[in-house]
């Protein structure tokens, strides 16, 4: 389907990926997954998803570094990235904004329903 939007989920916690992936698919999204920032970066640059959801703390490369790397790429400089993490201490929220993330969610406090509503709003897909 030409208008099916693709979401890349970059997250190392397998059960969370499973849950989010299932729900996104159920909502009609194409879902790509990656377990590290490095894998996420590679997948993004090849597959050009419409939206990226990224955790912060991951092996090999964290979410912030991934966003910064993406912003150096001709295609990647504009792709919307939402941070989904359980960390909000220190200056990490401000750093994520500076790196170019468009939303910052504390995932433990969010229902997936609300995350999906934000994705739809950001992609101009209001139901």
């Amino acid at each position: 389907m030409a208008d099916k939007k693709t979401v890349l989920v970059v997250e190392d916690e397998a059960p969370a990926v499973l849950a989010l992936g299932d729900v996104l698919k159920g909502e009609g999204f194409e879902v790509l997954t990656a377990r590290t920032g490095k894998e996420g970066l590679a997948t993004a640059i090849v597959k050009h998803p419409d939206m990226i959801l990224a955790d912060l703390k991951m092996p090999e490369m964290g979410g912030l570094e991934m966003v910064r790397e993406l912003r150096n790429d001709t295609w990647g400089k504009d792709v919307p990235v939402m941070i989904l993490t359980n960390v909000s201490d220190g200056t990490v929220v401000e750093e994520a904004q500076e790196a170019g993330a468009i939303e910052y969610f504390i995932k433990g406090d969010m229902h997936m329903e609300d995350i999906i509503a934000r994705i739809r709003a950001r992609l101009g897909m209001e139901k």
Binding site: E13, P15, A16, L18, A19, L20, D22, V23, K25, G26, N86, V87, S88, D89, G90, T91, V93, E94, I106, K107, G108, D109, H111, M112, E113
Partner: protein
């Protein structure tokens, strides 16, 4: 000045007194500081020897316990003293005991205001006190000190006649405490990852991603969701308490609709109220402006007040929330949360905002609360310029009244203060 006989008696009782702790040692030191001169001039060799031994033991006790003793005598300043251990602790340049003002100047700059306020209270409150603050010695050594003492007022009961006590170096204690708080913070963060997975997997099942659930399966999964979200709320409380104690609580204001936020919190807790057949009503004044507030913190305030109201209201009761605008000129929103619950016993009412305190009837009804909720609500409201009060009658119910400022001031995370 004490009589020699009294000193001898004190000397013989010294070991026992020392075991009894700092306050008693303090009384002894006062006696000894005055008595030493008497014995040197009038006393016998026997007493002098005992006094010397006592002085030596006091010195050792002070060194072992990292404390020193002081007296500020406002009627007869010549009587004021600092024991050598205090001069050593503050590495001071003073030859005579510093005045209270000079002493308070040892407080770290960030502590000055708080310490000055506390001292003002001490000066007008007779009896014992305790004050802990971060200080810097004359040579620049950073430490935490605790002043424990008592204020004796003049006969007319107004100004202090004397303030005496002990000052203890509690740096190590504070470091251990901070390490514990940091551990709680770290452990709480780690707990949130698996809790998120549980919560999301349950939500996925509820949405039917693995096929439609039967009624009893839905009930089970709803219970898993509910348990996970209660656990996440507890972890968030722990995290916020540790942020407050480490002084790293960030306030990130954004524009928000307080009524909408309260409505979503009510939706989340509706099933808990339904399960107890508690009616849950919310009215929101139509003229409320959007607030510039921290959404996570405001949500936490709403969640705590509402979950308490539901938790401590028996089956079939009611909980009523009302949000309205203050009178013109005051830039605050009022929220009241009224329940027909068990109420707070009169004698326990002064303590309900204390950390870890739970009213006795609350513990009987719900044994597994943390006693952190109201402490957090009050601390956060205080920090953003809001407030909370309540009216309660045991057995009839409680109403909490909250004032929420329109605009919260942003506050970034501070790096941890080095000791």
């Amino acid at each position: 000045m004490p009589e020699i006989a009294e000193i001898v008696e004190l000397v013989s009782n010294y070991s026992l007194l020392f075991i009894a702790g700092g306050a008693v040692v303090l009384a002894l030191v006062s006696a000894y500081a005055g008595g030493l001169i008497v014995t040197r001039t009038e006393g016998t060799n026997y007493v002098t020897g005992e006094i010397d031994a006592l002085a030596e033991r006091m010195k050792e006790a002070e060194q072992i316990g990292h404390f020193g003793s002081f007296l500020w005598d406002f009627e007869d300043p010549k009587q004021s003293f600092w024991t050598p251990q205090l001069f050593a602790l503050f590495e001071t340049e003073y030859n005579t005991p510093p005045t209270p003002e000079q002493f308070l100047a040892f407080a770290e700059t960030r502590e000055r205001e708080r310490v000055a306020d506390a001292w003002k209270k001490i000066l007008v409150t007779s009896g014992p006190f305790s004050l802990t603050f971060a200080a810097v010695s004359h040579k620049g050594r950073h430490m935490y000190v605790r002043v424990q003492g008592k204020m004796t007022p003049k006969r007319d009961g107004l100004a202090p006649k004397r303030i005496e006590g002990v000052i203890t170096d509690v740096t190590r204690e504070m470091e251990v405490d901070k390490a514990k708080t940091e551990f709680v913070s770290l452990a709480s963060h780690q707990l949130k990852t698996p809790l998120t997975s549980i919560s999301w997997l349950a939500e996925s099942l509820m949405r039917g991603t693995k096929g439609a659930l039967q009624d009893d399966q839905r009930t089970y999964v709803a219970n898993i969701q509910d348990a996970a979200s209660r656990m996440i709320a507890m972890v968030n409380d722990l995290l916020n308490v540790s942020r407050i104690e480490l002084d790293t609580l960030a306030i990130r204001p954004e524009e928000l609709d307080a009524c909408g936020l309260m409505t979503s919190v009510i939706d989340e807790q509706k099933h808990a109220a339904d399960a107890k057949k508690i009616s849950l009503d919310f009215t929101c004044a139509p003229n409320l402006p959007h607030l510039t507030a921290d959404k996570q913190l405001l949500r936490m305030i709403f969640q705590n007040l509402l979950s308490n109201a539901i938790k401590y209201t028996p089956e079939g009761g009611n909980v009523t929330c009302d949000m309205s605008l203050a009178e013109a000129g005051r830039e605050v929103v009022f929220l009241s949360v009224k329940d027909s619950g068990i109420g707070i016993p009169k004698d326990e009412q002064p303590r309900i905002f204390e950390k870890l305190h739970r009213a006795s009837n609350a513990q009987n009804l719900v044994p597994d609360g943390t006693g952190l909720g109201l402490y957090l609500v009050k601390t956060i409201l205080d920090r953003v310029g809001g407030g909370i009060s309540f009216e309660s009658v045991e057995g009839q119910g409680t109403t909490f009244f909250v004032t929420i400022p329109f605009t919260w001031k942003a506050r970034g995370d501070k790096p941890l203060a080095g000791v």
